[in-house]
Symmetry: C2
Subunit: 315 residues, 2 copies
């Protein structure tokens, strides 16, 4: 399986320009750590980068039929947003146990939302593709999506002018870390790309340690507060990137995630969802596992439920 190339990523950068925000690299209040605040994106998460890239690479006659996606989270909104930019329909299959707020947000972007029983969340979109001939925009196991997420790596390489040793990235399906690792392998091969996961959804760390791609029981990964990281296995193409271009995977506890989310709000003035705070949790609480020197944490999104946010802030 061929890894995503730097050319695919630099091409993606031209496709997302003017739609995705070119997020700044922020000095955090903690010396030695910089933050890449992807919660500033229009839909509140990095997912817009991959969705726009994948959508823009569809043949125009295919794209004009509309697209299909499945997601219970930020990918749904990203595809809906990108479809609206192209003026085409998005049909999004969402498991009926997804948060009402995310369902509403996807509808508000003009997408057709179809709620299905959880066990139909993969089979139903496949049926739709077969029935309609529409293209599917996959959440992570897709080289177009990965190259879109990789634009974060391009931006870090361009903006971080001093010596940099580590980039910390959350892992769920693995699309984000794959793109970033592919970009940095080409542009800054000295930089170590390290994945971070909740202990409760540690399938990628488990896979990394054992050398083979593992799947955890969805009921297990569903326990973490980091609702964006509950995917129970990384994708096949992401796994090839992780095996070849990622240097380590660290897990963090629920308390560490909550602490990082709180400190991001109070000290760094960033609204992060727990999934986005996970790399900061690794830096704050597992420094001995990290290489010495400057690090960037990719704060991947800011879509936090108001009740969860209040709880995290200790209110």
């Amino acid at each position: 399986m061929q890894l995503v190339s730097i050319d695919e990523i630099t091409d993606a950068a031209t496709r997302i320009a003017g739609v995705a925000v070119r997020t700044p690299l922020l000095a955090s209040p903690w010396p030695g750590l910089w933050l890449k605040p992807e919660g500033l994106q229009p839909i509140g998460a990095f997912k817009i980068r991959g969705a726009m890239t994948a959508m823009s690479r569809l043949a125009p006659d295919v794209r004009s039929r509309g697209v299909i996606a499945h997601s219970s989270g930020n990918h749904a909104q990203a595809v809906a947003y990108a479809a609206r930019m192209f003026g085409v329909d998005a049909h999004i299959v969402i498991p009926e146990n997804a948060p009402a707020r995310k369902i509403e947000a996807t509808r508000a972007l003009g997408a057709t939302v179809e709620l299905v029983p959880v066990e139909r969340r993969f089979s139903r979109p496949a049926e739709l593709v077969a029935e309609t001939g529409k293209a599917m925009i996959a959440p992570f196991d897709d080289r177009n999506v990965i190259s879109g997420q990789g634009t974060i790596g391009l931006e870090i390489a361009a903006d971080f002018t001093g010596p940099l040793t580590t980039v910390l990235v959350p892992i769920s399906g693995g699309g984000l870390i794959s793109g970033i690792a592919a970009a940095l392998a080409a542009l800054r091969p000295d930089v170590k790309v390290i994945g971070v996961e909740p202990e409760l959804a540690g399938d990628a760390a488990d896979s990394f340690r054992s050398g083979e791609r593992k799947a955890w029981a969805p009921a297990d990964t569903a326990r973490t507060i980091a609702d964006g990281l509950r995917t129970f296995s990384v994708g096949e193409l992401p796994w090839e990137h992780i095996r070849n271009q990622v240097h380590d995977i660290i897990t963090v506890s629920e308390d560490e995630i909550i602490d990082a989310t709180r400190r991001l709000a109070f000290e760094a003035r960033l609204v992060a969802e727990p999934s986005g705070a996970v790399p900061v949790a690794a830096w704050l609480h597992h420094r001995s596992r990290l290489p010495d020197g400057n690090a960037v944490a990719v704060v991947s999104g800011g879509n936090i439920d108001p009740d969860v946010f209040r709880m995290v802030l200790g209110a």
Copy 2:
């Protein structure tokens, strides 16, 4: 009194590059409103732009003696931060009733902090200047500071490529709105620059209506939750800009400020201090007072006290 020129502002942009963040212009969740998130700056507020500009324009032999400033808020941290960048001492006079958190933050940046009784907050810095020959970095009534804040106007003009009718800016001493108005008067004279103040600290609106610069009693302006906007009068040079280049000044209620701060956190995923949320309050609650068409709100800072933030979020 000569207004600040566009050349002074473009020069300031070169002086702050690499120190101040070039903040992105964000599409808000509210169609028609864009946000300029200055809470992303290293010290959490736009003040770093003016402080860096003023400091960099000092003659090197003057600057090397160190600088003096007085502030109970974000300007103190901005001067401390800029002084550290130049490797010189900052002596900051802070009234003893200032929030402990802001005093600590200023000390943490390496500044020498001198606490004085409130009634000595202007006379003591003047004494220090006389005694030491050090330069004072003024908070707003200074053309170097104003030209630094004006770089926000440059960036809005460069980044907002579509039709734009209004820019909404908080007013305290008036340095921020003066710089932005000066930049836009030169680059986008069609854009209306509108100031926003708390009703409880409405001295600038009062001045604007009456055509002469008014001062309110400090005990009155101190009532607003927007602690960055309690200055009881705009400066002389800011007043000249406001009279000539600002199109209107609107006031907002405390409830409207709290509502805007909450919606910025929950819907726009931005940590804003109440002072920074004031322009968004005007847009959300006083739309009929604004021109039709696209608007930018300058969210000037994110230094909100944790207890205030918890209260605002309705916890």
